[in-house]
Every structure is written in C-alpha cells, then in structure tokens.
C-alpha cells in the first residue's frame, strides 16, 4: 500500500496514521495528540495561499502547518466491511 504524507492526501477521505517521521519535541507532541500508528485521520481542508491544514485525528480537529504535516505518514484506511 502506498504511503502518503498528511499534506498530500485528498480531503474528506478516511486514512490512518502509519508513522510520525519527526524526531524531537514536535514529533513527541504529535504522538501525544493521538497520531499513533493506526489512528484514523482525515484531511478536512487546506487554508488558502499555502496556509495550514485542518485535520481530524481520532475524535478531534486540529490545524497544523503543511510543512509539519509532511512528517505524518498515512495510508488509505481499509473500510470496516472489508477489514474482516
């Protein structure tokens, strides 16, 4: 399955986190906010003119800059009915 970084996935489609490829405090913080492997994520929208992204991770909505989102790797989520 191809890996996409969070800034490049299509808006409104269910994905899941595969890994956070960022060392240091910011990476720690992302993980503490719930970007752990397998967590459901969705890109909601991009602010105009290269502004931040609005993202849903688990049950809450967060905005983060595109450059930071580039460190979050995701994969297309497997729909529940096909998972079994």
């Amino acid at each position: 399955m191809a890996s996409h970084t969070l800034d490049s996935i299509p808006a409104g489609e269910p994905f899941q986190v595969t890994r956070v490829a960022l060392a240091g405090v910011l990476g720690d913080r992302l993980v503490e906010l719930g970007f752990t492997p397998g967590a459901p994520v969705q890109l909601l929208r991009r602010a105009p003119f290269g502004g931040p992204l609005q993202v849903q991770v688990r049950d809450f909505v967060l905005s983060l800059r595109r450059a930071d989102a580039r460190a979050i790797h995701t994969a297309q989520a497997i729909p529940a009915n096909q998972a079994a």
Binding site: G24, D28, V31, A39, A47, F60, S63, D68
Partner: protein, 728 residues
C-alpha cells in the same frame, strides 16, 4: 496516608486537571461559586485559580490547573500541572485529582488520565460534556468504563450543573479510600522498561526532593526537555539524555513508545466501552466549518468579525471612557474644592487620583476586547481565526494567534498586550508584546491633530485631492506597521531568539458561549488589571507628578505682587478676572519650566535639538511619558495657552498654532515630532501592563530603550535629511 474527615485539620485538596476546553473552569465555577481567587503562578503568567467548596461537611480547597494535553513539560502549563500534582510547588499535594474528560473526545483525553494515575495521585474521572457526546451519537457504558479503568467515573454536564452531587460523593469516597483512585499501571514493553531502569539509576545519583517511585514518574523525567530538567536539577537533563539517548529512528524512542503503548491501551479499553450509534464522517462542527471556513465566504465573514471587534474596542468603548473621564474629572474638582490647598491635596489629586483615573479609563476598552475574545474563544471561532490568518502572519514573522492582539493595538496597546494571553508560545507572545506598541493607537491622534492642524492644514492638497495632513497621518500608521514587521524580524534573531512555535492548534467544536462564563472571566480580568496593573500605574503617575511639580518655583514674588496690584486696579470685574487668570497661567508656566521635568527638558535639549525639538518640547516629551495625549495640555501650559482636561480637536489645533507662532513647530519639525510619537514608548499604562504580563521589569525597560532609540533615529533621519533637502 489520608485522614478521616473528622481528623482532617486542613481542607481537602482537590485539583481539577484535564485537556484544554474540557470544562474545567466551568466545573470550577460551579463548585466554588464566588469563593475563588485568580492569581498567577510565581514567575510566569499562567493563571492560577483557587477556590473553596464544601460537601458532606468537608471543606475543600479546589485548584483549577492549567489545561494541558500531557505531562511532558513541553509548555509552561504542562510544567505547572505536573509540578502541582507532584508537590513541587508551595501548594500541598492534591488529595484527589479530578481529571475532567471530554466525553466526545475520549481517547486523547485519557492519555493525560493515565499519566496522572501513573505518577501515583488518586484520580477520578469527571466525564464531562455528556450532552455533546449524546448529540454526536456516542454511547458510553459508564459502569464498564469504571470497571476497565478501576477508578470512579462520574458522568456530568458541568455547563448545566448536572452531576455535581455525584462528583461530591465520588471525591469523598476517594478521599476516604485513596486505593479507589488508582489505575493499574500500563504493561510496558521491554525498551521502555530498560529505559526506565537506566533513568532511575541516573535519578538516584541526583539529590531529588521526591525521587519518583512509579515507572510513570520516571517516564516524565525522561520526556522532559533536557533544558527544563536542568532548570530544576542542574545537570540532570544532560545526564538523562546520555543514559537514554534519542535513537535516530523516532519510532524506537522509549519516550514515544510509551505514548504509543498508552494509546493502544486506551483504544482497547474504549473498544469495550464506547459505541458509536451514528457513524458519520462529519460532525455538527464540520458542517458549520464548511460555511465559516469557505474560501470566499469564510474570508468575508472573518473580515466582518474582525472589523466588528475592532470597532467595538475603538469606538464602542468610547461612551464609557467619556463617562469615566467625566466622573473622575468631577471627583477631582470636588476634591479640589473640599480639601485645603496644600501639597497633600495636589499629590492626592494630580498624582493618586490621576493614576486611578489613568487606570480606570482603560477598563471599557479592556472589557470590550475581552468580551469579544471570550465570545470568540468560547464559541470556538478564535482558533479558526488563527487558522485563517496564520499564513498571512507568517509573512511578518508572527503566528496567527498574534492577529487579534495586534489588531486591537490599533485602538490601545494595554488591552492588546493583555490579549496576548491567548498565545501559547512564550517567545511568540513576548515578541508580540514588544511590537504591539508600534501599532498607532488612538492616544496618538490628539498629537497628530496638534501638528497637522498647525502646520499642514493650509498646504495645497496633494494631486489636488488628498489633504496633506491626512496623508501624513496615514503615513504614520504605515510607518508603525512596517517598523513592527522589521522589529519582529530583528528581535526574533537577537533579544527574543527562537520561538516560531509550530501551530498545532486544536479547533474546538462550535458551542454557544455561556454568559456566566463570559461575565465571570471579564470580572476576573478587570479585577486583576485594577489591582495589579493599576497599582503600578498609580505609583508611576505620582512619580511623574513630582517631576513636573518640584521645586515649585513660580513667578518672581515681586513681579507677581506688582501684576496682581495692577490687575486689581483695572476697571470692571471681567477685566480684573482676565488679568488674574493670565497671572495664574504665567505662574504655572514658569513653575513647569523650573520643575525637575523642565530642567530635564533643558538638559536633554542637546540630544533632541538634532530632531528639531527645543527644550520646551523636551518638557512635553518628559511629561507625555504618562500618556501620549498629555503632550497637548503640557504644550498648552508651556506655550502659555493654559492646560485643559478635555483634549478636543479645537484645543489641540490651538495649542499647535501657539507652538508654530513661537517657532517651535514648522512642517519639518512637526513631521519629526509625529514620527517620534508614532514610534516612541511613552505610556506608563502600557509599561505597567508589560510588567504585569511578563512578570518582570526587564521587558518594559527593554521596550522603552529599544522603541525610544528607534524613535530618536527615525526623527533624526527625518529632520536632518529634511533640512539638507531645504525643507523647514
């Protein structure tokens, strides 16, 4: 460890902990009612709320801990929360920690719950926002959750006061039996266990007050930045880093692994206790966001909202400001007639009362701005504004959250600096505070009027349509803005290094603001401003009054007597009155010129002469340190027009004309004066606010030095280049 209620000699220590926006403060208010105190944690500006409550005959002392996502000390809030929970502050260690959890966002909220339980404090869960969870179709099996966690779980709707009784009961149970407040420790994988063992060895070598017992406590030390760990125990951070280095692949870092393992445990627990009835991709808030964050419509709405907020602060507060000024003016007139004419009366009226009035006049704008901010924040829109402008603000080197404070600084820097509280990163916030006074505030307008009416009003319109005065004033706004950008750029690389924190901003669901919360937070804000900033303003005003007053050398006694006799000899009451008033005015003029401020004005003349200012303007520069607009009545007094409390445009224009006819003001000198006032830090109240918000004198002093140097350089350039080019 815990005493029975009868044996308890001190109140039960209850701490409310939780993620931001989970309803901690709402719960705190519901518990403590009006019996609360808002202050600051020592050394930093994170607010500290402590109150009392009583349940089942037991007195509680309740602390509303700052909201945080974890205990890893990435932010001052987290550090405080952790320190409070481990007894590293002067406060007693909490007997019971109520972890307030958003039922509609359980997974992320429970990370903090696990961390708090790991460090060994007795916990219980206030499962708040049950109404929101229900609306989103989330079913929570509370008994099952309680079984899985092993601690008590109390479902609540704090905003409606639901569940308070059950919470009282649960807290009493945990207080009586702390074992009820434990959660079984997470089973750590091998790399985490190994790292904990190594860290424990290092911790053992340092003389810690309270060496952590549990793995969770050790993990906190590990996750702490080396820098922060070093602050508390010099050398510890580096030693920990050496013992447990950060591996090249972050996924193998034991600190991060611990978080991943906690989340795995949480997911497992929740999968057994939580059912989603409706599986929608978009919640209620997302549907609102589709409109409010729409590329075109959202931008329009944003501009409207910000224009409304600005208008409210700039103009909406004006009637109340007028009332305060009139009332304080009447009060000091009254005091002047009632009190005997002596020095004590003068210091009371022109020092203390002027300072009190100089504090109170800011209240309407502060309340207006914070009313707006409370409504924006509680509704959830404030975080969206930061999202919308983040890119724009990034171009000028500041985060999106600096937008609202800087916008309000165009009305007044005092509320604007207070509004930087909404900024999470310390350095970003400091930077915003340092550049906010460059935004042209409304107190500069009387000064601009004084100059433009006197020297630019009769010039030919530029290109036949633009009045020169209008253009110059507009240029002052632009100058302040451009200098703010340049200063931010330079300061970021010099005095305030670093910062530029990542955005990572939670966008809370849209909610209707609750009036009780809004009113309460306005009350807190006003109280803190009056008691803490106000005292500094009063003290500084008294000092300035003394500078402008002593040594009280007026007209020569002989001359005064002769002129008085001449006045009395005049025919007719009105003529006599006019002559006597003229003597009083001249006396005041001479007194001011001979005062310490007057002498300073003379002494600094050589340094301000290259800017085109003579010593008389020098007095004005000293005096207007109280507030910029005070330049106008001081100049009125110095140039023999008399001073006037109500600074209207007519008066400002008249004073300007007197200055022009005395040769102190020419178009070039006027421009230089405007440039100086556009940049210089001349506002006691702003300084007092910076002191209060940064909790040190270092930053207000820095602001005075850097802004006034900048002002001097700019005016110097204007006047010298202008003179060389043949302007006068």
């Amino acid at each position: 460890m815990s005493a029975t209620p009868e044996a308890r000699s001190r109140p039960l220590e209850v701490a409310l902990a939780g993620n931001p926006n989970t309803g901690k403060t709402t719960l705190f208010n519901a518990l403590t009612g009006a019996r609360a105190h808002v202050g600051n944690y020592p050394g930093i500006t994170v607010e500290r709320r402590v109150g009392t409550h009583e349940a089942h005959g037991v007195a509680w002392r309740v602390t509303d801990l700052p909201g945080c996502y974890s205990l890893s000390a990435h932010s001052p809030e987290e550090e405080i929360a952790h320190h409070a929970l481990t007894g590293r502050t002067s406060d007693p260690v909490p007997d019971v920690v109520v972890v307030v959890v958003d039922a509609a966002n359980l997974a992320r909220n429970m990370l903090l719950l696990l961390q708090i339980a790991e460090i060994g404090r007795p916990v219980l869960v206030a499962l708040n926002m049950m109404d929101a969870a229900r609306r989103e179709g989330i079913d929570i099996d509370v008994p099952a959750l309680q079984r899985e966690l092993g601690c008590l779980v109390v479902p609540m709707v704090a905003a409606r006061g639901e569940g308070i009784e059950a919470l009282n009961e649960a807290v009493a149970q945990v207080a009586a039996n702390p074992a009820l407040g434990q959660i079984a420790e997470t089973v750590w994988p091998e790399p985490v266990v190994a790292a904990v063992a190594k860290a424990r060895f290092v911790l053992g070598q340092f003389a810690l007050n309270r060496p952590p017992e549990s793995a969770g406590g050790v993990l906190w030390w590990l996750a702490t930045d080396p820098e922060i760990a070093d602050v508390e125990v010099p050398g510890l951070g580096a030693a920990l880093l050496a013992a447990v280095p950060r591996p090249a692949d972050p996924a193998l870092d034991p600190r991060r692994l611990a978080t991943v393992v906690r989340f795995a445990r949480i997911d497992a627990i929740l999968s057994r206790c939580v059912q989603r009835r409706i599986v929608t991709t978009s919640g209620r808030s997302e549907r609102v966001d589709r409109v409010l964050l729409h590329p075109a419509f959202g931008a329009m709405l944003f501009i409207l909202a910000m224009a409304g907020l600005f208008q409210a602060v700039f103009a909406g507060a004006q009637p109340a400001v007028d009332i305060v000024e009139t009332a304080m003016g009447a009060l000091s007139d009254l005091a002047r007639t009632w009190l005997p004419d002596n020095l004590l009366r003068d210091v009371l009226i022109d020092g203390v009362l002027a300072g009190v009035s100089g504090t109170l006049v800011f209240l309407p704008q502060i309340l207006m701005l914070f009313l707006g901010i409370s409504l924006l924040e509680d509704s959830g829109y404030l975080a969206r504004t930061a999202y919308l402008v983040d890119q724009l603000m990034a171009r000028i080197g500041l985060p999106g959250k600096a937008f609202v404070p800087l916008l309000s600084a165009y009305a007044c820097a005092v509320p604007a600096i207070m509004a930087t509280r909404t900024m999470p990163d310390r350095r970003d916030r400091l930077l915003t505070i340092m550049v906010a006074p460059l935004m042209s505030c409304s107190a500069r307008l009387p000064v601009y009027t004084l100059v433009t009416a006197a020297v630019f009003a009769h010039q030919a319109p530029v290109l036949g349509i633009f009045s020169l005065g209008g253009l110059v004033v507009t240029a002052m706004y632009a100058l302040g803005f451009l200098l703010a950008i340049a200063s931010a750029f330079v300061l970021r690389r010099t005095a305030i290094k670093g910062g530029g924190a990542p955005l990572l901003l939670e966008m809370p669901p849209y909610r209707w603001p609750r009036w009780r919360n809004v009113v309460r937070s306005l009350g807190d804000r006003a109280w803190v401003f009056i008691t803490q900033t106000g005292t500094v303003i009063v003290a500084l005003t008294v000092v300035l009054w003394a500078l402008m007053t002593f040594p009280r050398e007026g007209l020569d006694a002989g001359i005064k007597a002769t002129r008085t006799a001449q006045a009395h000899a005049l025919a007719g009451e009105p003529a006599q009155q006019t002559a006597l008033a003229a003597i009083a005015r001249d006396d005041a003029q001479v007194k001011l010129q001979n005062s310490i401020a007057g002498r300073i004005g003379r002494t600094i003349e050589p340094t301000i002469a290259p800017l085109g200012f003579d010593w008389r303007i020098g007095i004005g520069l000293v005096g207007s340190f109280a507030a910029r607009e005070v330049l106008v009545p001081i100049m009125g007094q110095v140039f023999g027009r008399g001073s006037q409390a109500d600074i209207d445009d007519r008066y400002a224009a008249d004073v300007g004309k007197s200055m022009a006819s005395a040769g102190a003001l020419t178009p070039l000198k006027g421009l230089s004066l405007m440039v100086f006032f556009a940049i210089a830090m001349q506002c006691l109240s702003t300084l007092a606010t910076i002191r209060r918000e940064t909790n040190s004198w270092r930053w207000p002093v820095f602001a005075v030095v850097y802004l006034n140097s900048l002002a001097w350089l700019a005016s110097f350039a204007v006047y010298q280049i202008g003179t060389r080019m043949g302007f006068a």
